[in-house]
């Protein structure tokens, strides 16, 4: 043994593929070979299928549902309506936002695509025939699609079930179509500051309704085993444990008899957080028929009915001194929630974390009020690749900064720099009550402006403008800036819960005798690569190579309780739990090592993958040796085995941030934009896997591009969905996707065990503002202050037209 050279610490460290390694994703082998196991891949013996009869109308009374022709079809087993669910109390279900939602139309329908009846049959074909044979008689009612008309005195009452309730889940309701008013900050003081300010910019900023549109739609397989009384549901669940608890509470099936399994999930983006009628109907149908039921929605169902995002009308006022120091921010938001308030926010936050809308700036006083209203549109309001309402907040402040810069006549890059929270101000308490953990905004901003050569860009832009004015070009150049601060990692149990479930998360680790391990978490990957990155966290914590650690999530019978994966919470919360569980393992390993090395516990020290005797590094026990010893040695005072579990309640949120720059050229005649540059600098604290971060940033930027440049859920005045297929709902292809330049700074989170902040959603939060600001910037010389997204060809064309550029 003596002639074998002991590897250095660095060599041993690199063999672990721990923190900071661009480790290849372990998930990809199966995904790229078509070997993933998604809900629709699950086939059980005797399984039947279910699908919905959906409402073609946005608002109507349901006079009669005739199921006889459908039931007469061979292969159709059952047709459930609200009347069948009523005896079980399941014709309505609670929403995550404290409202309730019809599972199947109970006397009326409130949006196009609403679930009216559930047809169960032998296969998809029989079910589709059955759906087409259910005859529903409707009496049309007047439709409300404009949230500003919802509260008019003579507006049709949408939710007759709660029309007389003056008090909702979040306080007083002032109109039958009003859901809540939510306020933060200092109203009077803010008004006073704005009234007396030297400069005020006042603007309405609309963040339009869009949709997460994951590649895999929502679905489930419900299987009630009547012999042992156990219900198993495989489904597209971003929060399997929460689904189990909610399912138990509403069905009265004891929680230990419910097993929720999230298999591989093909993207979530917030779309798979909520509970949908399809899950309830499948469970009921399985209980009724005694066989497993599969329900998988199609693309049109998904776009039309399943959890939209955004739809915030944000009226803002921002005040400043003449030389550009911001003095106050006021915002009133009208939030269009659709027919039911089914936002997937922490329960105490009906407008999510919209009060992060002071952004990256040191704003002394601020006030925010959000009014939620009902309209005849699909419910939802989920956090589409962002923490709760954070893209809305970030878009709002980044537009307000731009309109303020216009008013002040100064460069918006300079205005931002002048108002950033300074490095030494962290931890910083914002005017709307959040405690920002860490940041170095000036460093990131300066790095970004230098990387893109901002001054040169402005020169190029001037030249292009001159060509345009001289009639030599019909193109304008726009430079879009954004600096964002996210608030992720929900969250501290003291203020974050969903239906009373604290938003902690958990990790459980078992070390096997031969020194490999399995770790289970309360989260569930939908493409984020948890099996890769959480193993890296552990590798660095417990000195076992990442490739020797299996990661398991999504089975409530085996995984520890956690609140799931959304709002960039996995790394901040479950990642912290993972590190903490690893530290427990290491603490026990230290005792075992000391025993084996015949020294006192305090006389050994950790060295990458081993404990060695202080001052005598040649005397050591590797984690592999320690693991085996834990299974075969009787160590006095130490239990056999090497396992740990950690439930982590984060002390604070984390605040990832970044600086993005987009450059585009816009043809004023066709409205076509050509994206020339996208630069994204992210500070997500400690970087676990740079390659995965880069992939996350590319993906998030592509969604940001989609949202800002064309993606929307549009309705006509009758409440018909106008964007129900991927022909009209914009998903960029490789062709439309530009090249991305990514960059970073590292400002670790001081309260997170490894300093990580989360990154998956940052590019969507920062990207939308940067793309939209580029469009606005191109038209700035002609007096444009605000034009609503999406900036698709015709809307950009209309900006040019309204500014007289077509004359």
């Amino acid at each position: 043994m003596d002639d074998v050279k002991t590897p250095s610490s660095e060599e041993r460290k690199s063999a672990l593929s721990g923190l900071g390694t661009s480790r290849k994703r372990v998930e990809d082998a199966r995904f790229t070979q078509g070997k993933g196991n998604y809900v629709d891949d699950i086939k059980l013996k005797g399984m039947l299928f279910g699908d919905f009869v959906r409402s073609p109308l946005a608002h109507a009374r349901v006079k009669n549902i005739d199921t006889s022709a459908a039931l007469a079809l061979p292969g159709v087993h059952a047709v459930l309506t609200a009347d069948d669910l009523r005896p079980l109390g399941l014709h309505w279900m609670p929403t995550l936002a404290g409202d309730k939602q019809m599972v199947l139309a109970d006397g009326k329908v409130l949006f196009q695509g609403q679930e009216v009846a559930f047809v169960v049959g032998d296969d998809r074909y029989a079910v589709a025939d059955g759906v087409s044979m259910v005859k529903v008689e409707y009496d049309e009612l007047p439709v409300v699609t404009d949230p500003f008309k919802a509260e008019l005195k003579d507006a049709p009452i949408l939710r007759e079930d709660i029309a007389d309730q003056k008090e909702g889940a979040h306080g007083a309701r002032r109109h039958p179509n009003h859901i809540f008013t939510w306020e933060a900050g200092e109203k009077e003081e803010t008004n006073k500051v704005i009234d007396e300010a030297e400069v005020v910019a006042d603007e309405m900023v609309y963040y339009h309704r869009t949709h997460p549109c994951p590649l895999e739609t929502c679905g489930c397989v419900a299987s009630m085993d009547k012999v042992n009384g156990k219900l198993t549901v495989w489904g597209t669940f971003q929060a399997p444990h929460a689904v189990r608890t909610v399912a138990s509470l509403i069905s009265n099936i004891p929680e230990h008899n419910i097993r929720i399994i999230s298999p591989d999930i093909g993207g979530g983006f917030g779309n798979k957080v909520g509970v949908y009628p399809g899950y309830i109907c499948s469970i009921v149908a399985s209980i009724v028929t005694g066989v497993p039921i599969k329900w998988v929605e199609d693309r049109m169902d998904n776009l039309m009915a399943t959890a939209f995002a955004r739809d915030y009308w944000m009226r803002g006022k921002i005040s400043a001194t003449k030389d550009g120091k911001i003095t106050g921010l006021w915002c009133h938001t009208t939030a269009d929630h659709g027919a039911f308030d089914a936002c997937a926010d922490p329960t105490k936050f009906p407008a999510g974390f919209m009060n992060i809308c002071t952004g990256s700036y040191d704003i002394p006083v601020a006030y925010l009020a959000v009014d939620g209203v009902y309209t005849n549109k699909a419910p939802g309001g989920v956090a589409y690749r962002c923490s709760f309402r954070v893209t809305e907040a970030s878009y709002f402040i980044e537009r307000m900064i731009e309109v303020l810069a216009l008013k002040l006549g100064i460069d918006s890059a300079e205005l931002r720099s002048k108002n950033f929270i300074k490095k030494e101000q962290f931890p910083y308490t914002s005017a709307l009550g959040w405690e920002y953990d860490s940041g170095d905004y000036h460093r990131a901003w300066d790095k970004a402006l230098e990387a893109v050569n901002y001054r040169q860009l402005r020169e190029d832009q001037k030249k292009q403008l001159q060509l345009f004015k001289d009639g030599k070009s019909r193109k304008l150049m726009g430079i879009g800036l954004s600096h964002f601060t996210e608030i992720v990692g929900a969250g501290p149990v003291k203020n974050c819960d969903i239906l009373g479930l604290g938003m902690f998360d958990a990790c459980e680790i078992r070390i096997h005798p031969t020194g490999s391990a399995i770790a289970r978490l309360g989260t569930i990957s939908q493409g984020q690569g948890h099996a890769t990155t959480f193993a890296q966290i552990l590798a660095s914590e417990i000195g076992i190579p990442a490739s020797d650690i299996t990661l398991e999530e999504g089975d409530t019978d085996t995984a520890p309780y956690g609140l799931g994966t959304y709002g960039s919470r996995s790394t901040p919360v479950a990642g912290a739990a993972t590190a903490m569980a690893g530290r427990k393992i290491r603490a026990k390993a230290q005792m075992i090592a000391a025993y084996l090395l015949e020294v006192h516990d305090d006389d050994v020290e950790w060295d990458v993958d081993r404990f060695s005797v202080k001052g005598a590094p040649e005397k050591f026990k590797t984690m592999k040796e320690i693991a085996f010893a834990s299974y075969n040695q009787a160590i006095p005072g130490v239990e056999p085995g090497l396992e740990a579990v950690s439930y982590y309640d984060p002390p604070n949120m984390t605040y990832p941030n970044g600086a993005y720059v987009v450059v585009m050229e816009i043809d004023v005649d066709t409205g076509v934009s050509d994206i020339k540059k996208v630069y994204a600098l992210d500070d997500c604290g400690t970087r676990i896997n740079p390659m995965i971060i880069e992939g996350q940033v590319h993906g998030g930027l592509t969604e940001a591009l989609a949202i800002s440049m064309g993606q929307e859920i549009a309705y006509d005045e009758q409440g018909n969905v106008m964007t129900g297929t991927l022909m009209d709902f914009f998903i960029p292809t490789a062709w439309e996707t530009p090249t991305y330049e990514t960059d970073y700074t590292v400002t670790p989170s001081p309260h997170h065990p490894i300093g990580a902040k989360g990154v998956g959603e940052s590019p969507n939060v920062g990207g939308v503002s940067a793309f939209s600001n580029a469009v606005h910037d191109a038209f700035k010389p002609f007096g444009l202050t605000q034009a609503h997204m999406p900036h698709d060809h015709w809307r950009v064309w209309k900006i040019a037209k309204d500014l007289g550029l077509h004359n």
Binding site: T670, M722, M727, P732, E736, D792, H793, W794, W797
Partner: protein
Amino acid sequence: MIPSAFKFYKPDNISKAVSLMKDFGEEARVIAGGHSLIPIMKQRLTDIKHLIDLSGIDEIKGINITGDEISIGAMTTQVELINNEELFQKAPIIREASLQIADPQVRNLGTIGGNVANGDPANDMPGLMQLLDATYKLSGTNGSREVKARDFYEGAYFTSREDDEILLSISFESPSGGYAYEKQKRKIGDYATAAAGVIIKVENNKCSSASIALTNLSDTPVYCNKAVDMIVGKEIDNDLLDRVTKTCVDQSDPVADQRGPVEFKKYVAGIVIKKALKRAIERV
């Protein structure tokens, strides 16, 4: 997204296909590439009891070129149109336009016959065939007949094809002169917001012949006969091109959709028509 039940037939010659059409009348439809038909069947917007697949009929496949006479079988796929070098030599606009249809997966299955016979105003080939003054050969119970592409389209999804007729082939003469097919769309795979094709001959800066046609700017393709009359025999200058463009736009009649309102579409039509004119003239 599951169609109602239908019977499927795959005849190996035209007479069998025609006889199936005759037997089943309105309940029958032929299927070529299926890109338009299958989605509407899945959405149950149409109820077809008998589906007759033409992909087994070899006599309506392939490209035949004799001198300047070009004949393309209805079941020739778009990818074949793109890859055929001889066709490219004789009628390069076909490749230029075909490459702007959808994406490679669609073009691998999509056929020229399905594209022209469906009567969808958003399809690119009908406008292109009007541009080329192509002739469609149809076969039905009462035998074969020929119809000019410029006379074939009656309204959205309505054509002069009888219910029992099947499109066999499309023929046209090799065009000479400059050419261009310009299309604005929202993304790869989308139909045109506005598209225009131009073929033009210019001698001594004077236009000696021209053809102009538009796609997705009315409920049928638009052959711009008034604009053609206006340009032929004239000296080409920018002012003339502006007037020709305006005349084309005046002949268009687009409808509003998610791509934008009518006013926008007409404006963009003007841009793509002018671009096509200029590029075609440059290529003379």
